[in-house]
Amino acid sequence: MLRSSALSLALSYVALGIVALVLFAAPLWYAWQVTIQDSRTEILQVDAQRLAEVFRRDGAQGVRSFIDARVRMQIAGERILLLTDASMRPLSGNLPAWPSNVPTLPGNYKVKIELGDHGIQTALVHVATLGSYNLLVGRDNALFAPLQTRFWYGLAAAIAILSIAGLMIGLITRRALLTRIDSIRQTVSAIIHGDLKHRLATHLNDDELNTLSRTINGMLEQIELLVHGVRNVSNSIAHDLRTPLAELRSRLEELALIRPPPEQTFAEIDGAVADVDRVIRIFDALLRLAEIDAGLRRSGFVALDVADLAANAVEFYAPAAELKNIDLAFRSDGSVSVSGDPVLLAQALSNLIDNALKYAPVNGSIEVAVVRRSDGTAQVSVSDDGPGIADSEKCKVVERFYRGDASRGTPGVGLGLSLAQAVAKLHGSALELSDRNPGLRVAITLPFDAASLVALAAPQQETATGEVIASPTLASS
């Protein structure tokens, strides 16, 4: 049981408490003892002096009657008095004989004395010489004994209460902790056995365990999402790779079976290579997606000018737009610095523009815009005037391999928007799809680059807006 951390912690506190109590009581006890002894010694000396005065005035006889009177008067017998002659014969007082352990030399002594009714008691005695007589005055310590006993009892009681309370608190805490840890353990082992639906119980208060539970729940959420994603993806991969692989297989099988003339054989082989290339392309896109999803690319984050990035992408696609007689426009408010991965952002933007080009009608228009917003974030958007995406399809298009009905028959592996979505997610954002009636506007909001904050703080002439707009219409490519 001592291996329980809660209990051993409580016990160490108890031990610490006891040590503190003793450290507090010891000097107190010592001071008390010294004070008592000093004051009592003083009283004894005063007594002895008074007797010495009586001796001077009335001689030995006077002292004897004085002592007799004193002994008679006292009730409890706390005073010890004895007068002996030079040969140590008791003359008067309440001691039968001069105690053997008290020397006859004048001074103060603390000794154990046989005291008739009271038995052996510790007493403080003062010895003085009156002429040839020996005088012993003393006080029984027994009177203080109850006080001292009470002190010790008090201390013992305090220690006992401390120990019991500490032990109980330890046990209760341990139990409470064990109960909660046990529930966590049970949940976790259920998860280990494959049921990712389980979540740790959390309470309203914000103690350490609760915070931990919430964090773990967040982790489980992410894991479930990833596992779910992987499951979906493997299904989609199976589906999407099976088609080109099936084509490839039948092509090769036919070649082996029919053995057509060389000319036709070579053409078939070219077709087969194209099939394989398509498979590789899907594979690459999936690997890239997996890489981004795993969040591994965050190390590639640098400060970059997203307006420059977008301008380059627009320039890259300009000839392709021209070919379709599409007006591909670019708009930005100067350079817009953000923190991000240049390779992935370029790819995401390129996918969005590619998509827009695919769906914008001939003689249509596409606008790519980079806008710096008032909260310091940048928005990159691509807008087209194509058929747009129905609201019901908006959330589906970013799923892997989903291709809108309108996109059937167009080339692409159906991963373009998924990739853009994954890149947006890596940058702490998401694709925002909105209608342009007609057309689609896809926007990604990017975190600002911390270094650019300084530049932002300085008053700027140009309006600070950074929005990159890409207008892909349907998931594809």
Partner: protein, 226 residues
């Protein structure tokens, strides 16, 4: 050219060695890291093709690092099944000169080897660049064909400059994407082809002999030869 191929997969080896032979190159082959390291360190090669993951306890990147530390400057092309951006960066940082992911088209490999070799030989760095009657001065950014001046957009200029620096060689679409646009991904549609045809409009359209030619299943080349 004398080429060293360090690769453990037999099929890939056979495919590459045969292809290189047909292209007129001599090829040595090492099937594991130890032999590869030994050959690379002792023989003079024009280009080394290095697989990343090798049997024999020595990884391709480790060999490259050792060679570079020993002062070997031979251009090295890394072949790898690892396609993540970070893998690529790691490969180039270890001292590799180019990175090609498996599976690859042989044309791509050949074009890249040629480019590496040329770069090492410092061929075609003379100014101005000349192919047939096409001249380019990278300093003044003037382009002329015959006695006619040609106006190019900045990116078109960069595209033509890259092609002319590799005159007579095949340049693949991926190489153009990487070197002209700095795009390390596949843009899905054939945008590069569109750029090429625009460039062709400007430099070839009104002339009898086309200089910018398409190489089937590989890419493009700028050449004045027939």
């Amino acid at each position: 050219m004398k080429i060293l191929l360090v690769e453990d997969n037999e099929r890939v080896t056979q495919f590459v060695v045969k292809g290189l032979q047909e292209a007129g190159h001599t090829t040595d082959h090492a099937g594991n890291g130890r032999d590869g390291m030994f050959l690379a360190a002792s023989e003079p090669y024009d280009v080394i093709i290095m697989d990343r993951m090798l049997p024999g306890g020595i990884d391709g990147l480790a060999i490259i690092e050792v060679l570079r530390k020993a002062g070997k400057r031979t251009p090295i092309l890394i072949l790898s099944a690892l396609s993540e951006v970070d893998d690529r960066i790691r490969g180039l940082r270890s001292g590799g000169d180019d990175y090609l992911t498996k599976p690859f088209a042989f044309g791509e490999l050949l074009a890249r080897i040629d480019a590496l070799h040329r770069r090492a030989q410092a061929i075609n760095t003379e100014i101005p660049l000349t192919v047939g009657d096409l001249h380019m001065d990278p300093l003044t950014r003037k382009v002329t064909r015959g006695d006619r001046a040609i106006t190019l957009q900045p990116r078109e200029f960069k595209l033509l400059e890259y092609l002319m620096r590799h005159a007579g060689q095949v340049v693949t679409r991926t190489m153009l994407l990487e070197n002209v646009w700095d795009y390390h991904f596949d843009p899905q549609t054939n945008v590069v082809d569109v750029h090429i045809s625009k460039l062709r409009q400007k430099i070839d359209a009104e002339f009898e002999r086309p200089l910018l030619r398409t190489v089937r299943n590989a890419g493009y080349t700028v050449t004045a030869d027939d």
